[in-house]
Symmetry: none
Subunit: 397 residues, 2 copies
């Protein structure tokens, strides 16, 4: 079994132990030993920059990094409408004094990561609008070559509780090669296409949050890590951009999603994590993972729910015009279509559902099955237009 290497940074000599030990130091920053064996399938506890500098140059095939996002939360706490408190990410490891400090941190770890990457290795970084623009700029400055930015569309994001912004429903991953000259990177184009109804895999991925049994919980029932990523997300990245047997380095290992998925998919991993609590949870988690048989290492096709279609989208697509009049099946009720996708009857405005309910005097109504538009002299249910939208959306849900 692989080991967990845990130690504080100044105790290298005393605590550095053999492959079978459970506690292994990450060396101190500045000590860059000559090339040495790779700590495969191990978790190094310590600072990721020092630990990466202790690895041989050009030794890993892929890097997956989920760095601190540098969230800048307000002073007060955010309450839900039912007055319960949102459990915000306010851990010390996510605090930076300024954008400049965050940039410097980003430059440091990206530089260290780039050194250990093989010439054709690729790097993945995930982030949100708080940090991803900093990361992307620094990465370009360092000579990385962006291959794609990928949007993780969350199936079940946290809503916006105050109604002040759009629901923040996605995060962004950057996929980059080591340099513009690195043309030989791994990309399993055909496998991805085969798992996606034989059309090219797009840059927007629809994947649920990590919840349920997959989410690691402590003895107190609380989540072990505030930002554990779903295995499905890691699986798609590793299946896309690595081969079985490849070495994947994760410098912000957390509770080890990268390691768990790597083991399951027949990849090797090197994890680096500063917090012992996370590293220990990761070790136990990964030890329990059963690798898939080699034959089973195919891309799992994505399960697709029927995509939600906004009435506004039907207008934007030109199926229905703003200003047009909709009626019910018998023409007894009329409503005007507004450009924002609401309907208007007299002074009342609201969704197709709300206004449908209003004109009938019902508490509720499914507007899609109520309102009609006139086409070629005949009334057409607006749900027909939604069906056309869904057909056009195809695999994009």
């Amino acid at each position: 079994m692989a080991s967990l290497r845990t130690a504080v940074a100044d105790t290298v000599a005393r605590k550095s132990v053999s492959r079978t030990g459970r506690l292994v130091s990450a060396p101190r920053m500045g000590l860059v030993p000559a090339a040495q064996r790779l700590p495969l399938d191990e978790i190094l506890v310590g600072d990721c920059i020092a630990a990466m500098n202790a690895l041989p140059a050009a030794s890993v095939d892929c890097v997956f990094a989920d760095p601190p996002y540098n969230l800048q939360l307000g002073d007060g706490s955010l309450l839900r409408p039912d007055q319960s408190r949102v459990d915000a990410v306010d851990d010390a490891w996510d605090q930076f004094s300024s954008f400049a400090a965050y940039d410097e941190f980003t430059r440091a770890w990206l530089t260290a990561a780039r050194r250990v990457m093989k010439p054709n290795a690729t790097l993945w970084v995930i982030g949100s609008y708080h940090n991803i623009f900093r990361v992307g700029s620094v990465l370009q400055d360092l000579g990385f070559w962006i291959l794609n930015d990928i949007v993780w569309r969350k199936a079940n994001p946290m809503p916006n509780f105050r109604g002040k912004r759009f629901t923040n429903a996605h995060e962004t991953l950057i996929w980059a090669s080591r340099s513009a000259e690195s043309k030989g990177y791994t990309f399993h184009y055909e496998a991805l296409k085969g798992g996606n109804d034989d059309v090219q895999m797009r840059s927007d991925w629809f994947i649920p949050l990590c919840t349920g049994d997959e989410r690691l919980k402590g003895a107190d029932g609380q989540k072990v890590h505030p930002t554990q990523k779903p295995e499905a997300l890691l699986a798609r990245t590793l299946l896309s951009a690595t081969n079985a047997g490849d070495v994947v380095l994760d410098p912000f290992f957390g509770t080890g999603t990268t390691g768990a998925v790597a083991k399951r998919l027949g990849r090797r991993f090197i994890g680096i994590e500063r917090e012992t609590v996370y590293a220990e949870a990761a070790r136990a988690r990964i030890d329990a993972v059963e690798p898939l048989s080699k034959a089973a290492l195919l891309v799992a096709p994505t399960k697709r729910a029927e995509p939600r279609v906004a009435f506004l989208s039907v207008i934007e697509a030109g199926h229905i015009r703003a200003g047009e009049i909709l009626t019910d099946a018998r023409g007894r009720h009329e409503a005007v279509v507004r450009p924002d996708g609401t309907l208007m009857v007299g002074p009342a405005m609201g969704s197709i559902h709300k206004i449908g309910a209003l004109v009938q005097g019902f508490p509720s109504c499914n507007g899609w099955d109520f309102w009609h538009a006139k086409r070629d002299g005949k009334l057409v249910l607006i749900d027909v237009f939604r069906g056309r939208m869904r057909a056009a959306m195809g695999s994009a849900a």
Copy 2:
């Protein structure tokens, strides 16, 4: 009819003409005249930084910017599988010598844009992974406050012809306020929700490319502009974050999608475009646009915007009697209505909000959404009575 102001930058004195003229200069960079009238619904031909510096400070409600993407194409041309050539964006205006040069350009135009923004104005910028990380970083450095990043998911993106990457199926928009202190920005939360099946609008938008009749073509049948954006995209941004009558500035006007949509939706625009060919196409396009009726552009009032109603008024109007007992939805808590519009529970007295918070043990509570009165054997939320008061006051819907 509004004018097209076209001129080269060094001919201000000679070519600057009246509102009805078709050729109007943008002043030279560095000349920043004192506040002057806004060139509403006009297109200024010239450098956007100089033109913005000639506008009065704090004069526009919204900025929409589609800057050059700084695409870094290889030397060779890209061929489709059928050997036809992909018409790449290789125009001179998209060429920058380095990331640093692009950053400097970005800093310059964002600084100029920020000056002309009203305190509660917001900015939209669209880009791809080639430039959006630079733009986002600079924008944060300048003090803009990101509200959302929005993903435009393309219904029909160009495939990846070589099978070397994921289909680049989206672009990113950043929506930012002028500063972290700008809390009063416009966001039509209710209308967006109403147009989206009564659930919050998310940060990922599914919208087709600009094709077909909407795509401007020259006499030769070729597209006039290589990156014309779909009107649906602009419509959603303007409906989200501006009011009818607001002034929208677009410093990279191109063929005028922003202007066309602004006119259709009853907004005013100021367009700045360097290339006369684009500006002339935009002018003709916008002149042909028919605005929507004012009635169709009314905004559904949010609760916050509706007239304030005192609980005492509800008692005075006879909807609720002094001495009556109010309860929560399940009858677990009771309070007595006092003639002065306060509630009483045991020895405690206070507003509907204070007493609601008290009995629940919460720090705060919206009493309108908590207390109920019994009418015909059923519990009725007191907010219903407020609604009747407002209806009687003439506040529609």
